[in-house]
Amino acid sequence: MKDIGLNHVLDQLRIMTPYGREQLQAVKPYSIDRLSNLKRVLEDQELMISSLSASPQIYDHIEREFCRIKDIKGSIKRCKNQGVLDDIELFEIKLFAIYGENIRKHYESLDLSIEDVCFQDLEPVIDLLDPEKKRFATFSIYDAYSDELKKAREKKRDIEKLLYNENDSERSEELKQERSKLVEEEEQLEGEIRIHLSQQLQQYGERLEENVISIGLLDLYTAKARLAIEKGCSKPLFQEGIQLEMVRGRHPYIEDLLQEEGKTITPINIDLKAGTNAITGPNMGGKSVTLRTIALNALLAHMGFFVFADTLRLSCFDFIHLLADHLESIKGGLSTFGGEIVKFNEYMKDIKRSRGLVLIDEFASGTNPYEGKLLVKSLMEYLQRFNTISVFITHFDGVVGAGVNHYRVIGLKHVNFNELIDQGNNDSKYRLKLIQSLMDYRLEPVENEENVPKDGLNIATLLGLDSEIIEIAKAHYLKEVQFCGKETEKDA
């Protein structure tokens, strides 16, 4: 699932705390039996987005606290397990409690109730570690903990003053010995206080852990909300029945790439039904991108994310499978084809026992076209009977049977090739960019199997394929009466 661009999206989440990162790692697609949880997560996301838009300053305050949060799960664990904490662990717990209290107060002012985000009151923890009530972000075993300790330290200080002014080395040594004894006494008393503090803190171990989770979730949800706002994402709508309807869907990775070049992505509309769906069209027509746009948005929806589309209505799928060949691979041939068959068999197991989404990119393109076409046609016919939504991309002609939900990329349908080919410019890069700029990536539903526009030869001509070859091909074309689909547009 990695090559559909999921990581590109996840990498853009601005997560601030180590706990938030953990929560992100733990994100998985929800299964159908947890649909109500998924819906709740999406609703909470919606609330968070409006909250974020309404009170950005509060979120800034929270973010500032998030930046200070360190991973202290080790210290908390020791705290819960009756370990004796050292100064550094006590320091970390104290700071965590101070920052945690700040976060709690800010969160409560937002008046949200996000599921599982529940901050416990850590004031008692701070009080334990701040007997002088100064609320400084520092820690030491304070005098205030024990009078005995205070006295021992005063005695030690007196000796240190004498030591500082003492020049006689013998006397210095004596003083140093006395001081050592007091140091021992001080350390003994400090040790007792640490044991006592650790015991007192143990009861708050669970509160600390709950706050760890709450901070992590709040961090993750805030990051998701920010991304959704920034990228104009919408809440996916899970419905009964078997469908996937996407209005103005985009692929976030391609969108970002195009934006860097100053271009905008062409959003895609599509309405998929149970059984077989097909998308056909010319090469370079963005079919593969469309397939991945569907896959990525469906997956994001199942993971509780807002999607890159104006609307996405879908069922909760038991599985989402993408069967995409490495079309660029020169190897091709039986080995790739064999791999496809093996993978497909695995998917069939899922298809037979539950309902899901299967996306298949150019199946059987690695074997001879005659058999390839037959196989694709058969597959498409076979999958019609299942509850799974299967989406085929194919450049084969005449494989889309009746009853299959058929879309085609508009492509270069409306382009006047003759005009273009006559244009002087011979630079192939320029020509490539020209094709890309003229390509209409939108999908249109196909009512019946019309003749597939044969743009292959035109594209080849435009890209500068030797005119002699073009002439030979044209001659063959004219001879052909019924044979469809010369694979001239297929890149080696």
């Binding site: 360190k70 100064d87 320091f91 030491s140 330290r153 030690k156 240190e160 140091v183």
Partner: protein, 346 residues
């Protein structure tokens, strides 16, 4: 000495390094601390040891310094725990060392602290910065001139070099070796801004690089050791300079000389003088052949301290030693035991 000390306390950071063990580096440190007592708030840390356990077992200096209440210290967690003063934790840094995370604390009483700081330049810089932000007037870094450390005293504004009888039984030798070490530490640094950027970029590659005009050519060699023939080839092919990120030792120089590589006008760039481990004769040979060695980061030696006593029992006449040194190196020299110096008047 007062004016010199005033000047030192104006610096942001000061590194104290020693020629050897037992040259009085810790005594020097304590001396500076004593002179700050009651006057300047100090921050203390050290360049950590980045090596096998043996170094720690054979006792490469783990200084215990006596500090004034209020001093800020950055040290590894285990060293924090074994420091015997009343202390308060101010910050954790997230920087790991073999002895634990570096923590920053305040001395709440006078007492002894153990210094074990970070061993990487980047981290050391962060720690020094943090100590300054927390209010230190001067940050003192207990340094090291070892091949093993990746962090360099050059990161500090000023350096004090400690030397002494422990260096050699022969007083002349002490002078010669100390002077040589100072020559290496105080190599010229590149002043041309464009070249500086190029060298920085080269050092950032983590590999030996050549400079040709304003272009950088990166090789596959990570250190100079083993890269001798690559360096020879590059220089002979016309490279004006070679950038070496790690230690530059005698082996390379002896190789280049024995192979009669034309070195006139060529430059060897190193991070700073602490990376040069060259015998005096090899350094001289380089210079005779017209080659230059330039550092990226200058090292400013403020003072050289001397311990005229050796742990083996012999000692030198302090004023004679200080005088000889001063004449040779033209820097202030100070005996930290007798508290007498030469050339230390501001």
């Amino acid at each position: 000495m007062k004016e010199l000390l005033d000047k030192i306390f104006q610096l942001n950071s000061l590194a104290i390094v020693g020629m050897e063990k037992n040259v009085g580096k810790t005594t020097t440190m304590n001396y500076i601390i004593e002179n700050a007592w009651g006057k300047h708030l100090l921050g203390l840390t050290s360049i950590g040891i980045d090596g096998e356990k043996e170094d720690q077992v054979t006792g490469t200096d783990k200084p215990m310094v006596y500090v004034e209440k209020g001093t800020l210290i950055a040290t590894a967690k285990s060293a924090y725990l074994s420091s015997d003063l009343t202390k308060g934790v101010l910050a954790t840094t997230g920087l790991q060392t073999p002895m634990g995370e570096v923590v920053i604390f305040e001395a709440l009483s006078d007492g002894f602290v153990e210094l074990m700081g970070p061993s990487i330049n980047k981290y050391l810089k962060l720690v020094i910065q943090k100590l300054k932000v927390l209010g230190s007037r001067l940050v003192i870094v207990d340094g090291a001139l070892s091949r093993r450390t990746m962090a360099s005293p050059a990161i500090a504004d000023g350096v004090i070099l400690a030397t002494g009888a422990a260096v050699s039984r022969d007083m002349q030798e002490v002078v010669v070796e100390t002077a040589h070490r100072i020559d290496l530490l105080q190599i010229d640094y590149e002043k041309n801004q464009e070249k500086v950027e190029l060298v920085k970029s080269g050092l950032g590659q983590g590999k030996v690089c050549f400079i040709q005009g304003d272009e950088l050519q990166v090789t596959d060699e990570v250190t100079a050791i083993g890269a001798e023939s690559t360096i020879k080839t590059g220089l002979e092919a016309g490279a004006e300079g070679v950038i070496i990120g790690g230690v530059v030792g005698d082996r390379l120089i002896e190789y280049l000389v024995s192979q009669r590589v034309a070195l006139e006008g060529k430059v060897i760039y190193v991070e700073d003088g602490t990376k040069l481990f060259l015998k005096e004769e090899n350094y001289r040979r380089l210079q005779l052949k017209g080659a230059k060695v330039l550092g990226l980061n200058p090292i400013n030696i403020q003072l050289v301290t001397v311990n005229p006593y050796s742990p083996e029992g012999y000692f030198f006449d302090s004023s004679e030693l200080c005088q000889l040194l001063h004449e040779r190196i033209q820097l202030p020299v100070f005996d930290v035991i007798s508290k007498i110096g030469v050339g230390v008047e501001g």
